[in-house]
């Protein structure tokens, strides 16, 4: 390398305001870039975790009875029979909760009676088609049979348990560790027990923001409709969903004058709504971060351009005394590299501090250092790219500029 850094550095130090400003931009951009990307990646991971549910082919119907004549049991029976008869429908089941929607129920659960626990497990009350209506995969044991399904709890019964349950693998792991859970008993907080007949994996409950969204249990019982509404989960063959939804809505809204159909919606609707915050956060973070990097690059570009224009004569002199074009390009790249490096070093400290602060303040996970390394390389590379064009232009300054008396 024909250019040592020292004279470039000393020249820089004599005009440092511009350089310091650019380095500050680089530092802030790095800190933001690294932390924003880290948050975005976490959100993407959250959104892409395996759901175990055939989301795209499921729709949800909610019905509310409102007169004294309304009989929930027979109404539910008729509705489910009708839904199962629709063309393209694979399975349909009543359910108390809607996956991914934020609307569901949870209970505490232990592997031994009388043991105190605060773990909340999200449960679905479904019939024998419940697993199929969600499209979840049974990995051990058996599905519910028609005979297992217990009637809805009576209005004045809020605490009876069921005989058979199917657990998610995450639930089984939490309760039984590595032991085989099949045939074992699980207990509610009143000490009532149910037998584990099957294990599904993966599956997700109603609350995507829960610390353990996959702590799920299926109960072999029709939902109670206690809060004035029953839900039906309906799964169709691919492509048949929308037609089935239309048919279901037009038929069910007229079939029983004692209840209203509150909504017929795709499960995608609920999933998108639940992840809306994550999605918009991600889009917003990415947009602003990209803008910030772009502004920083423009700053680098502008400073380099400014340096080139104000030093035309100096470049000509250098060329006159024998600098090759490549030497000039190199000079400006080294100069820019020094500025960017200073910014990046400051940015590392800033990024770590921001990451630490975020992790303390908002209980976000601590910044992953790979992101920092990646961010440093990225920003440094982009910084050099931004300076390349001005540096090239500098190299085209003719050496005869030196003899021109302005």
């Amino acid at each position: 390398m024909s250019l040592s850094v020292r004279p470039i550095l000393s020249a820089l130090m004599r005009n440092r305001t511009g350089a310091v400003l650019v380095a500050m931009q680089v530092a802030i951009a790095l800190a933001v870039l690294v932390n924003a990307l880290y948050i975005v990646v976490q959100r993407i991971e959250k959104m892409q975790r395996p759901l175990g549910i055939d989301v795209d082919n499921i729709f949800v119907v909610q019905a509310s009875g409102f007169t004294d004549r309304y009989d929930q049991t027979s109404s539910m029976r008729e509705d489910i029979d009708y839904l199962r008869s629709l063309p393209g429908v694979v399975a349909a089941s009543p359910s108390n909760g809607i996956p991914l929607s934020g609307s569901g129920s949870a209970t505490t659960l232990t592997a031994h009676p009388g043991v105190h626990s605060t773990d909340g497990f999200n449960y679905y009350e479904v019939d024998e088609q419940g697993l199929d209506a969600l499209g979840v995969r049974l990995v051990a044991g058996r599905n519910f049979r028609h005979g297992d399904i217990e009637p809805s709890r009576a209005k004045n019964d809020a605490s009876s348990f069921v005989s058979n349950v199917i657990l998610s693998r995450a639930t089984a792991l939490r309760l039984f560790g590595q032991d085989d859970p099949l045939g074992k008993a699980v207990y509610d907080d009143l000490g009532q027990s149910a037998t584990v007949v099957g294990i599904v994996d993966p599956v997700i409950g109603a609350w995507v923001g829960d610390r353990h969204p996959d702590w799920v249990m299926f109960m072999s019982r029709l939902p109670s409709g206690r809060y004035g509404a029953v839900r039906y989960l309906v799964r169709t063959r691919p492509g048949a969903r929308d037609a089935a939804m239309q048919q279901a809505e037009s038929h069910l809204s007229r079939s029983n004058p004692d209840r209203v159909i509150t909504f017929v919606r795709t499960l995608n609707y609920f999933r998108d709504l639940s992840y809306l915050g994550d999605r918009s956060m991600g889009i917003y973070l990415l947009t602003v971060t990209l803008l910030m990097v772009a502004v920083t690059c423009l700053g680098i570009f502008a400073l380099a351009t400014f340096n080139v224009t104000t030093r035309t004569r100096q470049i000509g002199t250098r060329r006159a005394v024998g600098a090759r074009r490549a030497d000039i390009v190199q000079y400006f790249l080294v100069e820019n590299g020094l500025i960017t490096t200073a910014g990046v070093v400051g940015g590392c400290a800033l990024a770590l501090a921001t990451g630490y602060w975020l992790s303390i303040q908002y209980e976000l996970p601590r910044l992953n250092l790979y992101f920092l390394v990646g961010g440093v390389l990225l920003l440094w590379g982009i910084g050099q790219l931004a300076a390349l064009q001005p540096a090239r232009r500098a190299a085209t300054v003719p050496p005869s500029v030196a003899t021109r008396n302005v």
């Binding site: 024909s2 005394v321 024998g322 030497d327 003899t403 008396n405």
Partner: protein, 237 residues
């Protein structure tokens, strides 16, 4: 060592062509001190740019030490400039952001010399111009004459075969101008060929040979008696 044969240089605009040099021929031998004079617009600066490989020319031939410079790549020309030619400019062209030492260092940097050798050359060049005590000063802290002496030091630090000086005293008062001229004569006596471009006949008279340019052509040769015959042994070391 420097031989131009029928060199022409044309500046074209949309409407007119201006011959800055017209079939210009000149031969300079090692150790000479040649003054190029002429009125404004006579082609002095163009001659300097062509001679110093800062600009190309259209027709004719130009040889330095027997090498035809036509057809050399930009890098090769840069290299020739760096090793064979030293420049001195009217407005000094010191790099304002660099101190004196670093300014003199600039051409040496492009030559891949060892740190020690660069250091020695900078030291002796600054010694010669009498400014070794000002190494750490910035150009703006020096007078015009001192700045031009630094520029001379920068020009000779690389030990070039010839110096091209473009009105080196044009921005200086008469006392400083005299000092600079004496310095150039001293360098010439040490064996470096000097081509001095000036419009000042007084300065020109101090050279051994005077080339007068009018409209890009040589109108007059005048050879003066050498002030003192250069020592033949020192010529062109």
């Amino acid at each position: 060592m420097l031989k131009m044969q029928d060199v022409s240089k044309v500046y074209r605009t949309d409407l007119i062509e201006t011959y800055a040099l017209r079939e210009f021929s000149l031969e300079v031998s090692a150790g000479e001190f040649v003054a190029i004079t002429g009125p404004s617009g006579s082609g002095k600066t163009t001659f300097l740019n062509v001679a110093g490989l800062l600009e190309n020319f259209e027709t004719g031939s130009y040889r330095i030490d027997g090498t035809d410079v036509r057809g050399l790549s930009d890098d090769q020309r840069s290299r020739l400039r760096n090793e064979r030619i030293g420049f001195i400019f009217q407005s000094f062209n010191l790099i304002p952001d660099l101190n004196i030492y670093d300014n003199v260092d600039v051409p040496l940097r492009y030559r891949r010399l060892s740190t020690r050798e660069r250091h020695e050359r900078i030291g002796s060049a600054l010694d010669l111009v009498g400014l070794s005590s000002r190494m750490k000063h910035m150009p703006s802290q020096l007078s015009g004459g001192q700045q031009q002496r630094v520029a001379i030091a920068r020009a000779i630090a690389g030990d070039p075969a010839f110096l091209l000086a473009d009105e080196p005293t044009g921005n200086l008062d008469s006392l400083m101008a005299r000092q600079v001229m004496e310095l150039l004569e001293q360098i010439n006596e040490l064996g470096t060929t000097i081509l001095l471009v000036t419009h000042d006949p007084e300065l020109a008279r101090r050279a051994q040979r005077n080339v007068h340019l009018v409209d890009g052509q040589i109108s007059d040769f005048r050879t003066y008696e050498p002030r003192a015959a250069p020592d033949a042994g020192l010529a062109h070391a």
